[in-house]
Amino acid sequence: IAQLKDVIIKPDAPSSLLLDKHADYIAAYGSKKDDYVNNIHLKYDNAIGKMDTINVDKAVEFVLSCMNFDGGFGCRPGSESHAGQIYCCTGFLSLTGQLHQLNADLLGWWLCERQLPSGGLNGRPEKLPDVCYSWWVLASLKIIGRIHWIDKAKLRRFILACQDEETGGFADRPGDMVDPFHTLFGVAGLSLLGDEQIKAVNPVLCMPEDVLQRIGLQPDLLS
């Protein structure tokens, strides 16, 4: 019989946030900070203007039809509940002002069940934890107002253990190769957990709150 899937965090795993290392790691990818800000500003001006080109009611109907027997959401009706899909759905329902259509207690339960003994989060039952779920799951919980159902200290410990002390950056789980994708979500997850060294990140759009404030965009969250 297969054993419970989880990782073991070794005693010598990184336990503090290596911000400078991560800054160097990302800088090595060649992007200039300022470009991000300009580009995003343009994108969101566009995004806001175009909401009325889609049939929002039908879209909401479709998303809700993807709700499963366990309270989660899959890709299509009948598809397995998956934290990534749930993030998309909750984000969508927030942007369309339809969060009240969720069963937040049921979904919150499914989401907090993603936390494993190691403190890390998986994306669906009986799978290994992965630092990117620190974002998909955590942001979803934040959107539906149940982020306190996760053991924050344990999750933080898991995320920090995913850092590479030599190269900087975060990997999917302790000891693996780092990449920018997991680095982004590790940092964003820590922000949601309240790390004061990192700017506040908006859970719906995965962008710094101060950027959204500047363009006047405040998506709904459940409390």
Partner: protein, 370 residues
């Protein structure tokens, strides 16, 4: 939305450039000259000289400029040239294979390939072989599965699908794309017959395969449904058997709860007793959570039964004890959630009675969060 772990292993990062294998180039032998292993850029091929390559336009403020290899840029410069000209030719089709090999996630290339397949009336059976190979190499890519679906639709022939998907699942039993494609095929072509059997085989191999449990729900809800008491009894029995084999099994308990919650957990005769029995020998946080759900359901529907006030109080007491046990001992990582449940149920059904010993907290509405 960028791709998600397990659904796709990489996002928009360019994958490592594979060594060019040369199959697609056999049609254009001149590209190699004398040495068949030497790769010739499209810009150096005589038979492409009529086309002006179109470089990629990243706009005035490129944010993350990707360092494409020479080979990659060359292929895609010529792809853009073909698009611009709207050329529908054999050489265009061959080029799409090169472009796909360099980046199988480029949906514009896949779309154009489909346009070409139709325009040139290509042999779709050959295309099935092609896409089969690509999926075997890159089973966690969205576009390849979509392409396969299109070809199956065009052929209106799903006869290879269940076996092919089973093969992919034998390499990764939880491949989300594979399961999704399988659900589509089954639903579209009504291939329900042997699917429950297939699910059971997978659960024999790994009783914790959540995808398989999901598929079980999918099959039953679209065939017999869950209203038939005989079906429900059978499924309860199946779940409990699997739980006996592997008690700490989130999927089995989720399935059981999911199947019964609309009908009412406490409406199943004998179930509570069976679970209480299992508690002695095969306990888990999931079992306790399920027990709680049974008690809560009993409290909710007590008005329809003839429970006395005393019975209500007993049930509430048991429910609160479970929350306490989970929060303090059996599932402390989700302490906040169990305490929330305890408070909710106490506020809803508690009335005036004294509560079971739990962390002293002021009475708060069920919707409270911190």
């Amino acid at each position: 939305m960028s791709s998600v772990q397990e659904a796709s292993t990489e996002t928009t990062e360019v994958k490592e450039q594979k060594e060019f294998e040369g199959d697609a180039d056999e049609q254009f032998g001149e590209s190699f000259g004398a040495d068949p292993t030497r790769y010739t850029f499209y810009r150096d091929r005589k038979e492409w000289a009529d086309l002006e390559p179109v470089p990629q336009d990243d706009g005035p403020n490129p944010v993350v400029k990707i360092a494409y290899s020479d080979k990659f840029a060359d292929v895609y410069d010529y792809f853009r040239a073909l698009l611009k000209k709207d050329e529908k030719s054999e050489r265009a089709l061959a080029l799409t294979a090169d472009a796909i090999e360099l980046n199988a996630a480029n949906y514009t290339v896949w779309h154009y390939r489909r346009v070409l397949l139709q325009a040139l009336s290509k042999d779709l059976r050959e295309e099935m072989k092609y896409i089969t190979n690509i999926i075997e190499e890159q089973p966690k890519n969205y576009q390849v599965w979509h392409h396969r679906r299109m070809v199956v639709e065009w052929l209106n022939d799903p006869s290879e699908e269940l076996e092919f998907i089973a093969d992919i699942l034998s390499q990764d039993a939880k491949n989300y794309h594979a399961w999704q494609h399988r659900q589509w095929v089954i639903q579209e072509y009504k291939l329900w017959d042997k699917e429950l059997e297939f699910v059971e085989t997978l659960l024999e191999e790994d009783v914790r395969n959540n995808s398989a449990w999901n598929q079980r729900h999918f099959v039953i809800s679209h065939t017999t449904g869950f209203s038939d008491p005989a079906v429900v009894q059978r499924e309860i029995q199946y779940c409990l058997n699997q739980i006996r084999k592997a008690p700490h099994n989130e999927s089995a308990w989720n399935y059981l709860k999911g199947m019964l919650q609309d009908r009412g957990l406490s409406s199943q005769p004998g179930l509570l007793e069976k679970v209480l029995e299992l508690k002695e020998t095969h306990c888990s946080p999931y079992l306790l959570a399920f027990l709680f759900d049974c008690y809560e359901d009993a409290l909710e529907f007590s008005s329809q039964k003839e429970n006395t006030e005393q019975e209500q109080k007993e049930t509430l007491k048991k429910a609160l004890e479970i929350c306490e046990l989970l929060a303090q001992e059996k599932d402390t990582i989700r302490k906040e959630y169990w305490q929330f449940l305890g408070r909710s149920v106490k506020n809803k059904y508690g009335g005036d009675g004294p509560s079971v010993a739990e962390e002293a907290k002021p009475s708060v509405p069920a919707s409270e969060t911190s």
